[in-house]
Symmetry: C2
Subunit: 185 residues, 2 copies
């Protein structure tokens, strides 16, 4: 069986990857995450997923390397990780009562063979009170997360409904990845 | 602050309940889960949620008691937990490639005051191969779960998309519960 490498240090992605029941190891390097402003959200997450996988594939030519990237998109604008507590509050105020999209791109590389895809899921937030936003930011959960929330944690209480794949929001579309990965194993 | 009791022994519900950031204890008793065949799925889950909460509330009149019940519904038929490995395979064959609904009812009781509600979420399964169904059943995950799958485990790889609240599928609509519980605390 080929060696499978997850090119991500995210504990959430590691946990989701384990749902595939395929042995894997973690090996990730920091990459420059800047991108061309002309790219669409779907292009951005696929570009960055491939970039994260490529840098690991260079020194692991025989392995199957999986890279992934997630962004939150509101009214066609990409919302990154908050830069401060104040910024997290601003982002959550913006998303309150509205529907945004979460895009996750995945790249699977194995030598000359590659497959890059993405999934997008709609997320509708409840109308959030100022008290609720401040309570949530005080949990410290938003600070390292795109869009300033984590749906798998206390952020679950902010979300009214979703339409699409849940695990795309957490950071790895496991069901689609399993299907694509089958051809590589 | 009033004592909050979760009337469920499900480890999944306990984990979801902890997302509310409200201190609680577990106290549950087995109840007869039979119901009138004329009831709709929404009525069934609310009836059973209330029954599970009531039996605990009897001996805890001052506490806020939360009961919950989840069923899987396919073409208006309630699908329970599988009775055997063969039955789990049959259920998954039935759900393959189709959309079903997951209903979760919640009852909040506190003395004379009560609130009972439900949430329903659509779940679309991928077309599953026989090999995939047998692999999944061999994980033993389906056997204690309504509809023969758990979306938070290996079952995540069977699901193409959902429409509604994700946590309703896992077994407790935490976001709506948080909002309703606020009035009791």
């Amino acid at each position: 069986m080929k060696k499978v490498i997850l090119a991500s240090t995210s504990p959430r992605r590691k946990e989701l990857m384990s749902l595939l029941n395929v042995p894997f190891v973690i090996d990730a390097k920091e990459v420059d995450e800047s991108f061309d402003a002309c790219l669409s959200p779907a292009e951005v997450v696929q570009f960055l997923a491939e970039k994260k996988a490529k840098i690991i594939a260079e020194t692991n030519p025989d392995a199957i390397v999986i890279g992934s990237d997630t962004v939150v998109v509101f009214k066609n604008e990409i919302i990154g990780k908050p830069t401060s507590t104040e910024n997290a509050i601003e982002i959550l105020e913006k998303l309150s009562g509205e529907t945004h999209q979460v895009y996750t791109g995945v790249a699977i590389l194995n030598g000359e063979v590659s497959e890059v895809f993405y999934e997008a899921t709609d997320v509708k937030f409840f109308d959030l009170t100022q008290e609720e936003i401040e309570w949530y930011v005080a949990t410290n959960e938003p600070l390292d997360k795109a869009g300033a929330y984590g749906i798998q944690g206390y952020g679950s209480t902010l979300v009214e409904k979703i339409n699409g794949d849940y695990f795309t929001i957490v950071g790895l579309p496991v069901a689609k990845l399993k299907r694509k990965l089958k051809d590589f194993l």
